[in-house]
């Protein structure tokens, strides 16, 4: 995601519509992708997020939701995966 939006190679008519080119940012993005330690990766992503805000490259407006509705009396145990994208029906059942 950060690569799509902030990497210099995507800045000329690509997905980086801020047309933002900064070798420091490129380096931060490349380095983050190579980190296997989750804590270090998180720190690297935090630094990228902070830089984006300091330089005001993008205005963040709303976290979107996925919203589903079920018939409560007829269906049991419809849940979503952690990303709220996929309904999981393996545990689900229906009442006659």
């Amino acid at each position: 995601m950060v690569r799509q939006y902030y990497y210099s190679k995507n800045a000329d008519g690509g997905t980086n519509r801020s047309r933002y080119k900064n070798p420091d940012m490129d380096k931060m993005i490349d380095e983050a992708a190579g980190l296997t330690d989750p804590e270090k990766r998180k720190q690297a992503y935090a630094a990228i997020q902070k830089k984006v805000l300091d330089e005001a490259i993008m205005i963040f407006i709303a976290d979107s939701k996925n919203v589903f509705a079920t018939q409560k009396a007829k269906v049991n145990d419809v849940t979503l995966d952690w990303s709220s994208t996929y309904p999981l029906l393996f545990d689900a059942s229906v009442n006659a």
Binding site: M58, F60, D63, N95
Partner: protein, 429 residues
């Protein structure tokens, strides 16, 4: 505004937020056996071939037709599925998966390391024209069958997010026998190892899946072992939101996706229905600011735009107030999201005005000017997207109060893409 991008969340960590409608972890499911569940899909799709599709709704069916090497119970946490365990080397360019030995595809083909290699090689085969799966597989180099149940996957460069990728439905393992047999028609004859088998597809209308009676390898993200309770799932395509809502109310379908937000309060207040919802992983709605085009080449002007943005107001006007304000490029449930981003800006028109003063943009009547020129932000967006129109209109009225003039350029899709690729915009969704 940017259509939210469903998310690649890299590697471990993060505190997940359970979907509001989810049952408490560990609570046993009701588990009434038998019956058919009818699910209303909101969109048509291209193909049931998860390795090829560009539609996330295909992933919704794909999680039932197919299995993946690992599953992700919460952001960045992984549990075994078709792989019993795995190793990653320190540079994250070599992953070794040790596979289950008791799994077979719906067509009887045994699941093994060859099937994994076949699937990943298939995704990077240019003839397949894979898109989502291809981007998820990243700098894939090759797979090696170490022994019948061990496969080594190599990357050209370190690729820490790969476990997240293989946990997604798009990197599901397909039956090599069926993929060879059906070729391009695998998309209408999908064969996996999942808890449900493909039964039938009526083009642009309905997909029917039936229970896989041999299924004994459910991953631990679920709350029961053995096979699924349902005998069948029918996925009915109902494009029109009002028709979808009417079908649920009439009892013709059990579950609908994409509940229109104008119906939210009504369903929430009605005990016959249950809302199941959650914040999406990835990126939410945002506006990108062009840092190369005056006046937004000045960081002070851009920062002023940040302070001048009334997110709560936009959310109220656009989504009935149902979404949470965003602070970062990553949504609050996504791996790597940094909570301190919420401390950087808030809605403060006074601070916006001060920054613009500092940048030399002085109020002259209703609009700020510098060297005789008005402070104009060219906002390009798609006029056929009501969400974009709502936000653009709100921002124009709101920023007027700090002396920023917003020029609205609502265009048809093609014209919009041409303009923003050229960089005509100061701002775009």
């Amino acid at each position: 505004m940017a259509s939210p991008v469903a998310g690649a969340s890299p590697a471990a960590g993060a505190s997940p937020v359970a979907a509001a409608g989810a049952a408490p972890a560990g609570a046993p499911p009701v588990g009434k056996p038998g019956g058919e569940l009818i699910y209303a899909l909101a969109t048509r799709f291209d193909s049931l071939d998860v390795n090829v599709t560009t539609f996330s709704v295909v992933g919704r069916m794909g999680f039932h037709l197919f299995d993946q090497l690992v599953r992700e119970p919460s952001a960045g946490k992984f549990v075994p599925s078709l792989a019993e365990r795995w190793d990653v080397n320190p540079t994250a360019d070599e992953y070794t998966f040790y596979l289950r030995k008791d799994v077979k595809f719906h067509d009887g083909t045994p699941f093994n390391a060859e099937a994994v290699k076949y699937t990943f090689d298939r995704i990077v085969n240019p003839d397949m024209k894979s898109q989502v799966a291809l981007s998820l597989i990243g700098p894939y180099d090759s797979s090696t069958v170490v022994d019948p149940y061990t496969v080594k996957v190599k990357f050209k460069t370190g690729y820490a997010p790969f476990l997240d990728s293989v946990a997604q439905p798009f990197l599901s393992i397909v039956s090599p026998t069926a993929a060879e047999k059906y070729g391009k028609d695998f998309g209408t004859n999908p064969v996996g190892t999942g808890p449900f088998k493909f039964d039938s597809y009526k083009t642009d209308s309905e997909v029917k899946l039936v229970k896989n009676p041999d299924y004994t390898w459910a991953p631990a993200i679920y709350r029961h072992t053995g096979g699924p309770y349902l005998n069948a799932i029918t996925w009915r395509i109902i494009n029109d939101p009002a028709t979808r809502v009417a079908a649920l109310k009439a009892g013709e379908v059990h579950v609908i996706e994409d509940l229109p937000l104008q119906n939210y309060a009504e369903f929430q207040g009605n005990s016959a229905f249950q809302i199941v919802e959650g914040v999406m992983a990835g990126s939410g709605y945002s506006a990108m600011i062009n840092v190369t085009k005056p006046p937004t080449d000045d960081v002070k002007v851009r920062q002023a735009m940040e302070w001048a943005t009334d997110k709560a107001g936009i959310i109220k006007a656009t989504w009935n107030g149902l979404f949470q304000p965003a602070c970062s490029v990553l949504t609050s449930i996504t791996f790597g999201y940094d909570q301190s981003t919420c401390q950087v800006y808030s809605y403060d028109p006074k601070k916006a005005a001060d920054l613009l003063d500092q940048a030399g943009w002085k109020l002259d009547g209703d609009v700020r000017k510098k060297n005789g020129e008005e402070l104009v932000i060219k906002f390009y967006y798609r006029a056929d997207q009501p969400v974009n129109v709502s936000q653009a209109t709100f921002i124009q009225a709101s920023w007027q109060q700090v002396g920023i003039k917003v020029e609205l350029n609502g265009l048809a899709q093609a014209g919009y893409f041409d303009a923003v690729r050229r960089g005509d915009h100061n701002m775009q969704p």
